[in-house]
């Protein structure tokens, strides 16, 4: 009896069919975040993608990098940009064909990682893995969309694993429990923004230590804070402030904060997600209608 109850509960929470508005919302948010990241690189397209920039020859990349992919000719840059926009448009506005969009985005993410290791970061890997899973994720349909909750769970688990692993490496192998000024040491240097400079001048040493320990508690405990319904709102609030803080204190790192924050929509209540999704769909439809009229 007890075993059957547990099996049913497990099936309900892992694979049961239910409303997956938050998953649809995540698909859109994750894609937009990727397009913004690529858009930032595309401010310097020739340096990034063509032989006009300096690129490392094969064997000279940092260990673990992909072998260098062929560079684009200058006429390939608009094609690359067009492919990004087309894929984003398919995901956002042609939900039925979204798998084509995800397939293309996975290939574009892979190309962005391989063409230039100097502009690829850990977030490239997360985008690549994310789009590959979205490509093969269980389907859904209807309004509000219904489908297997497994897709939601996989990405929730991905976020919690990232948090737990980053916390774990800070404590085990790292020295976040050995020194009290680790965050203070990272706030300095060439990532230091105007805001970080202000904090460096005004925040007392114990303030930096409080930030350091609260980050460890948040990251290591993330699987509990996000899964337990009672702590979830606080986890979301803390996490959002944490990533906003990183974006404000570290120049150019907003792209990472934005990527991680997109996972947060997966922890919204379904009703809220469905409302947001409806509103976004209306905005998208109006945009398309006005665009067609013009």
């Amino acid at each position: 009896m007890k075993r059957r109850f547990l099996t049913t509960a497990m099936r309900e929470s892992l694979v049961a069919e239910q409303s997956v508005a938050r998953f649809r919302l995540f698909e859109c948010a994750f894609t937009v975040a990727f397009l913004l990241y690529m858009g930032r690189n595309l401010l310097h397209p020739m340096e990034w993608l063509t032989a006009e920039g300096f690129h490392l020859a094969e064997g000279l990349q940092r260990p673990g990098s992909l072998p260098p992919f062929p560079l684009l000719p200058s006429w390939g840059v608009p094609i690359f940009t067009g492919a990004l926009l087309w894929s984003g448009w398919i995901v956002g506005f042609r939900s039925r064909w979204r798998r084509f969009g995800f397939g293309a985005l996975a290939l574009l993410a892979l190309y962005a990682e391989g063409v230039d290791s100097a502009s690829a970061f850990a977030l490239n890997k997360i985008y690549g893995a994310g789009f590959i899973f979205l490509l093969f994720a269980p389907g859904y349909g209807g309004n509000p969309p219904r489908g297997s909750v497994m897709s939601v769970r996989v990405f929730q688990m991905m976020l919690l694993t990232i948090y737990f692993a980053t916390g774990f490496t800070k404590v085990y192998g790292g020295d976040w429990l050995i020194h009290t000024d680790v965050v203070w040491s990272h706030a300095q240097g060439y990532y230091c923004t105007e805001f970080a400079a202000f904090l460096l001048r005004h925040l007392p040493p114990f303030g930096w230590t409080i930030v350091q320990y609260s980050v460890i508690v948040f990251e290591l405990g993330a699987p509990v804070w996000f899964v337990w319904r009672r702590t979830r709102p606080f986890a979301i609030l803390f996490g959002l402030s944490f990533h906003l803080g990183i974006a404000l204190m570290m120049q150019a790192v907003w792209v990472f904060s934005l990527q991680i924050v997109t996972f947060y929509v997966l922890f919204l209540p379904e009703k809220t997600a469905a409302n947001w999704l409806n509103r976004l769909t209306d905005v998208g439809r109006n945009l398309l209608r006005n665009g067609t009229r013009d």
Binding site: A57, A122, G173, C192
Partner: protein
């Protein structure tokens, strides 16, 4: 072992930093009287994706190994010389490049009490003990047909 694998995926700021370091590149130009002139890397790379530093800074920062470092610096020197000649046709050509690493200890006033966001300090403004010469690459190395150093 597990930790190493996890660190490869998520090695984000795991250790306290003792210093912040970056590279400076100086050039000796034809007819420059042997003077070293500091190049602004932002003149050659507009892609500022490494904090306030450029993509080229990241390449240099990650080319630290003994095997890869010399080859990366030689390739970069060749590229910088050719881009310099193309972008600044009025300027004398580059004959030698010197790669310096500046290591500023955390807590130094420049880093720990900044007056605003990070700005690469002028090489002349930092204490000499922070600066270490990594290598000099001559045009003989990136272009073997170039004239010998004595003829400059």
């Amino acid at each position: 072992m597990v930790n190493v694998r996890l660190a490869k995926i998520t090695h984000l700021f795991t250790r306290r930093l003792d210093d912040w370091s970056w590279f400076e590149i100086q050039a000796r130009l034809t007819g420059g009287g042997g003077q070293w002139v500091t190049l602004r890397l932002s003149d050659y790379s507009g892609m500022q994706n490494y904090g306030y530093l450029t993509r080229l800074d990241r390449i240099l920062d990650e080319a630290g190994s003994r095997e890869r470092g010399p080859r990366v610096r030689r390739d970069l020197a060749r590229w910088l010389a050719s881009v310099h000649a193309r972008r600044f046709p009025e300027s004398p050509t580059i004959r030698e490049l010197r790669f310096l690493r500046v290591s500023a200890p955390v807590g130094a006033e420049l880093l720990a009490q900044p007056s605003g966001h990070w700005v690469r300090p002028a090489l002349e403004a930092v204490p000499v003990e922070w600066v270490r010469e990594i290598a000099i690459v001559t045009d003989q190395e990136w272009n073997p047909r170039a004239s010998s150093p004595g003829a400059r």
